[in-house]
Subunit: 648 residues, 2 copies
């Protein structure tokens, strides 16, 4: 949602004669941008454009200035877009603003009774925050370049401007180092990016107005480094990528560690042109330090009180190395320490309190708490999280200005190249809007309308967030028809937060197939949300809204009858057997809801015994099964309770 | 379906430890083949394979010999595949046979109650015909290399071995010629393949056991040549790719034409290594020859009787040029003439009679009649066409041996890169089976079972024959939910044969968008076929099969209620307005069918007046609308007629 929108009258038709022309500053990059825009508009509309040579362009583009060779934080992204029934004009101070404005134009183009068109409108737009990113973890599961590229296209579509590339972690080191070849040689399972691929991806991102910030997470989360270079670690090893035992940490007490990091960071600082360099710094489990007498001796000898002091010492040394390479250090909450210069940036996975505390001390910060896509929250919940809310709301203006924005995070414990798109999209669009649009833009229903529209547009960029699911359902179902399986998949969601796994199960096997129902379904069920909305409308009407009831009945009937169609399929494949109880529960919910409607229609309260029985069925249906939750249990419960007269 | 299949007991589990090993002849190409096979099996099953180093391979592969550098017609494609519960063995005389056997293995891998597995089996297999091709026309609509590549993957999956690349026609010349740059410079709308892209595609095809035969269609179908080189044409010009007026033909009376072709064919013969070179030769509309006094004078001066004789003269000259470049000439039916040497090959679009006539005269031939994918026939109809049926069935054995196989044809009047896959697949798999499997393999129901299984497997190759439709429906529907639109799309098919267009509409605009419902739907409706099968079962049970009736009711109810859900959507977008009557007809069919079932359930014949009225409704529903046919009208008619007692 742009900062300012003034709707006009009429609309600009998009026909075969559509064309876009660039005036003002012009270079090959901007021409490429416009060419991609035209291709995308052609895909969305299905129109092969054939403008008449010499005709006035439909969309006139003007940028006063070009862009920085390396995109800068805070570089001007503003633009103005005016659309009338006879043409459109996009002006911006920089060609970066043009990039953003073209995405707005694409979002405005829509099908109408008369053809494709863009409604007449005057837009003046700029982002609320200068840092709007997505973190993609490529260590837990390797994500190939082509998958990253299509996700960069998605990020550009929603005007995000930072890819935070989480390149190393316990489970894999993913960047070719020519100085230390054993990093990938022994620590990557042969799944890593060459430096050439990285340069290519950075160019690809730059073309789309996206900075690429690398993260090498140290001193914790660093087991993969130690397969090739065990001398960096605080324990004895040997190490395997599979892990087990206590979490290895880098040894901050040896000078050789810093010599290694000097060379490594010098190499990486050249490879990654962005001004920011993320060193991780989160979740340092001190067990290896506790267990190492030399490290404990070092702590005492240097008058430190504990492991936190040792990490602070490490970070100070690290910060000097990073600064020597002309980079600004970024790290997670835990790096915050008064001995570090105010130039560093703190990224908060802990919350706005942590961010506010940093801002008060003069540190700039980014919010990621509340934007963890891997926690399987609905878009509305992410959308409600604002970097300026909570403790941050009470900051002084100067302190507030230190909050630069935020980043969504796609940690990769449970994603593969096959399903990562549906874990990121479309929910990431809601977070992108939170970071771009004015604070006042808060209406959840209208956010969902925009998010669903963007979701369809993303299809034309090659993202597979919608197309992967049918393939995965077919794999599970074998040759069987998947209609009934889709009905079930449509109303379940994965368990939330970190509930898919617990320590009692032992370490996660990162090489196991991710081909279960939980891996194929969407993190947020559209169907359940719509059904719940219908039930709310029906309840609020005092159970008198007949149109709502008809639709509710349709859904409930489908669900009640679904297990009959699905049962024989579930039985025949090992991947679906665990879903049998879910399917039975869904049918039971359908039956309960229909009976509740029958009581409501007869206008006689349902008997208590029936109600008690149904609530037990619903309670059973709410229980997690196959790591999934049936999201329509709660609205059915409202119907059952309503039919028993509580709401009448 | 292999030539010989002997089922065993048990099954070979496909687990993370799966691996394949090559013994015997081994080269980089075969290693690449096996690597692609493993990747594909991993995609189908979703299992990231991690075999233990040193463990015995699950699948042992042995080829006695390698392959020809340029794949030859009739090169040995046979293989033997033995699968037991403890391992699998694939042996072949050549590595080309290995390619075919690996595809069989992929088709056998399936999900079971215990996991993924391949059933125990012994297969001895070889193709019935040595020439099993698909023609793809890239002139009417340009089809980019990546789209061709995924279709080559599909062809390899069904063991086809020839891509017949229809590279030039009236609407566009698609191959870079360095000798005659104006061919693409003026005749391609800038949509053509560079020679480097062509070499790359040929390598890609060779790696998959597919020959690439180019076709340059002359002397007719050649308008695109004349934009750059009008001196080749029999008329005055000027020419445009859009056309209009009479169809231009090449001038066979000038020596300069042959000088041009000498140079051109020499260049192309080097570019395309295949031994066969297709010169088209079809549908020569003689109007330009009739209108040109010099050409008529030439005909008389050389004692020719008519235009056909002139084309025969042209073909003889052409054949000598082709032969001089060490290629065998191939052309359509019309080139058949006793003056041409017996080495040439005739491709028949006219039928088996034409093929038999050629075989009797000593000419080898290929069947394409009956395999035109653009005619929108159901797979079963293509499947019923055999190169050896009709007139060919009565040939002597030696004559029969001249029938080399056949080719499906995807002419590109009505396809774009977006929807071409769904026009080719999965129906092409039925034609592939006709050409590979023994004549006795004829059962249509079992063909559909295999075709549907292959169709799902093709998804893992990146073909978009199933995934493009939802995107196209979303484009038509705008932001609206597409469930009801999909219900409608599921039961319609495009009009058949050449009925989409007639001359009264003027020439086809090849630059127009192809974004209507007819462009999004499948050529053959699965749902209609299944519904029809259900109704047949119900009728044959004397209307007593309750299970069938329940399912029939479910469908009919969905359709009856569908227009209510869909109407408001259709109204809102210009691309769907034309489908309103279809949607209404579908609802009427649903209602008629349900009423018929009610009469049947009551075991009283439906009244005559009702029947008459319903038959009128059905007749109306059968009429073509928006160039579409409602494929469930006929089975509903059976229900209505049955309920009136005719079948009781």
């Amino acid at each position: 949602m742009p900062a300012s929108v003034q709707t006009g009258t009429g609309q600009l038709p998009i026909t075969q004669s559509f064309s876009a022309a660039v005036a003002g500053t012009r270079d090959a990059a901007l021409d490429g941008t416009v060419q991609r825009f035209v291709t995308q508009l052609s895909r969305q509309t299905g129109i092969p454009f054939r403008p008449k040579p010499g005709a006035t362009a439909t969309l006139q583009i003007h940028a006063d200035h070009g862009r920085q060779a390396v995109q800068k934080l805070g570089e001007d992204e503003s633009y103005e877009l005016t659309v009338t029934d006879s043409g459109a004009k996009l002006t911006a101070s920089t060609s970066l603003g043009v990039l953003r404005g073209l995405q707005t134009f694409l979002q405005l183009a829509q099908i109408m009774p008369t053809g494709f068109a863009v409604p007449a409108v005057t837009i003046k737009d700029q982002p609320r925050f200068p840092w709007r990113g997505t973190l993609i973890d490529v260590s837990r599961h390797f994500i190939p370049i082509d998958v990253l590229k299509r996700n960069l296209d998605g990020m550009a579509a929603v005007k995000m401007n930072v890819l935070h590339w989480h390149l190393s972690d316990d489970q894999g080191f993913r960047v070719e180092s020519k100085v230390f070849p054993k990093l990938t040689g022994m620590g990557s399972d042969e799944m890593f990016y060459t430096q050439e691929e990285i340069r290519d991806l950075i160019t690809y991102a730059h073309d789309r107005g996206i900075r690429v910030m690398p993260e090498f997470d140290i001193p914790g989360h660093s087991r993969s480094w130690f397969l090739g270079y065990p001398e960096l670690s605080s324990g004895a090893g040997p190490y395997t990528l599979e892990g087990g035992g206590i979490d290895p940490i880098m040894d901050p007490t040896r000078e050789s560690t810093y010599k290694f990091l000097e060379k490594f960071i010098a190499e990486m600082a050249k490879l990654f042109p962005d001004a920011y360099f993320h060193i991780g710094g989160d979740e340092v489990d001190g067990k290896q330090w506790d267990a190492n007498p030399q490290i404990q001796a070092f702590i005492h000898a240097h008058g430190m009180k504990n492991n936190q002091d040792l990490q602070a010492y490490f970070n100070q040394r690290l910060q000097k190395i990073v600064a020597k390479n002309h980079k600004i250090m970024v790290g997670w909450d835990e790096i915050l320490h008064p001995d570090l210069p105010k130039t560093i940036i703190v990224q908060s996975w802990r919350g706005q309190e942590s961010l506010a505390a940093a801002a008060k001390q003069g540190y700039s910060g980014l919010l990621s708490f509340g934007y963890y896509l891997d926690l399987m929250w609905p878009a509305a919940r992410h959308y409600a999280v604002d970097p300026m809310s909570g403790a941050a709301a009470t900051l002084a203006p100067e302190e507030k200005s230190r909050i630069l924005g935020g980043e969504s995070c796609q940690w990769a414990e449970w994603v593969t190249p096959e399903n990562i798109d549906s874990h990121i999209w479309p929910r990431n669009a809601a977070i992108a809007e939170r970071l771009w649009s004015p604070l006042e833009v808060q209406d959840v229903a209208s956010m969902y309308t925009r998010m669903n529209a963007v979701s369809l547009d993303l299809e034309w960029l090659g993202l597979t967030h919608r197309s992967a699911r049918p393939r995965m359902l077919h794999r599970m179902a074998g040759a069987a028809d998947i209609t009934a399986l889709r009905n079930l998949a449509d109303v379940v969601e994965p368990v939330k937060d970190y509930n898919r796994w617990d320590d009692a199960k032992g370490p996660i096997d990162f090489h196991a197939p991710l081909t279960r129902m939980i891996d194929a379904v969407y993190p947020e069920s559209d169907t359940a949300r719509r059904f719940s909305d219908l039930v709310q409308a029906f309840v609020q009407s005092g159970f008198s809204d007949r149109a709502a009831e008809t639709q509710i009945r349709m859904w409930l009937t489908t669900w009640r009858d679904n297990d009959l169609r699905l049962h024989s399929v579930l039985d025949q494949t090992f991947l679906l057997r665990e879903d049998e109880p879910l399917s039975q529960d869904l049918s039971a919910l359908g039956a309960a809801g229909l009976q509740a409607l029958d009581y409501l229609d007869k206008a006689q309260p349902a008997p208590d015994a029936w109600k008690t029985q149904q609530l037990a069925v619903i309670e059973q249906a709410k229980a997690r099964k196959a790591d999934l939750l049936l999201m329509v249990a709660a609205p059915v419960q409202q119907l059952v309770e309503g039919s028993a007269g509580q709401h009448n």
